[in-house]
């Protein structure tokens, strides 16, 4: 299996809607098929990001919490 091209966006410490806006801003700079991993301490991101991803048609890869930081992975599909 080939290794995914993953770009990490560190939005820890930023409040809503900062992490989502950081994610969207960076999505414009990556290639289709690449994955962004958003690091966020804003609990709202866990619901807001999947909702946005679903609305605009990208793909949620997954999300998990590690030591109070949410790692939310999104694949660019278009």
């Amino acid at each position: 299996m080939s290794e995914e091209n993953v770009k990490v966006v560190d939005a820890r410490g930023s409040f809503c809607p900062g992490p989502l806006m950081e994610l969207i801003s960076n999505m414009k700079q990556i290639e289709v098929g690449d994955v962004l991993e958003l690091l966020s301490t804003d609990k709202g991101s866990v619901a807001d990001v999947p909702d946005w991803v679903n609305k605009v048609g990208h793909e949620m890869v997954g999300s998990e919490e590690k030591d109070g930081v949410w790692h939310i992975r999104v694949r660019k599909t278009k």
């Binding site: 409040f15 809607p17 900062g18 989502l20 806006m21 414009k28 909702d51 946005w52 609305k55 605009v56």
Partner: protein
């Protein structure tokens, strides 16, 4: 059909301008057609050379000042750049302030009259902050 939300931002209080900017940013990047109309006490904060920050209305404003909350101007700019939102200055408020289009922050799309704003809003929602 694209949802349209027209935002009237008339308060000069930090929390209200912040909430208007948050709504504009999140709505526009979610595919909504967002139009922001800055008037009354909100407009002076979008005039070049007026660097004063809007006062806090209450506890939340004071708390936000000490945290990493995105500045409202940055959110309005992101609403435009990432979501295609439009931000207009109320032409009546500009007349009262005695400012011209050249005096407005570069981010603004120019002056707009209330009649046109309401006409463009059509049957969509109008939110007032």
């Amino acid at each position: 059909m694209t949802d349209r939300i027209s935002i009237m931002c008339v308060s000069g209080m930090h929390e209200r301008i912040q909430m208007a900017a948050m709504t504009a940013a999140t709505g526009s990047v979610s595919g909504m057609d967002i139009c922001i109309f800055l008037s009354m006490n909100a407009l002076p904060y979008f005039v070049k050379g007026r660097d004063a920050k809007p006062p806090h209305e209450g506890e939340m404003g004071e708390l936000m000042a000490g945290k990493n909350v995105p500045p409202f101007k940055q959110l309005f700019e992101q609403a435009k750049e990432l979501g295609g939102a439009k931000v207009y200055a109320c032409s009546m408020a500009m007349d009262v302030l005695e400012v011209s289009e050249d005096d407005l922050d570069e981010m603004l799309d120019g002056p707009l009259g209330l009649t046109r704003f309401l006409s463009d809003a059509g049957g969509g929602q109008i939110l007032v902050f």
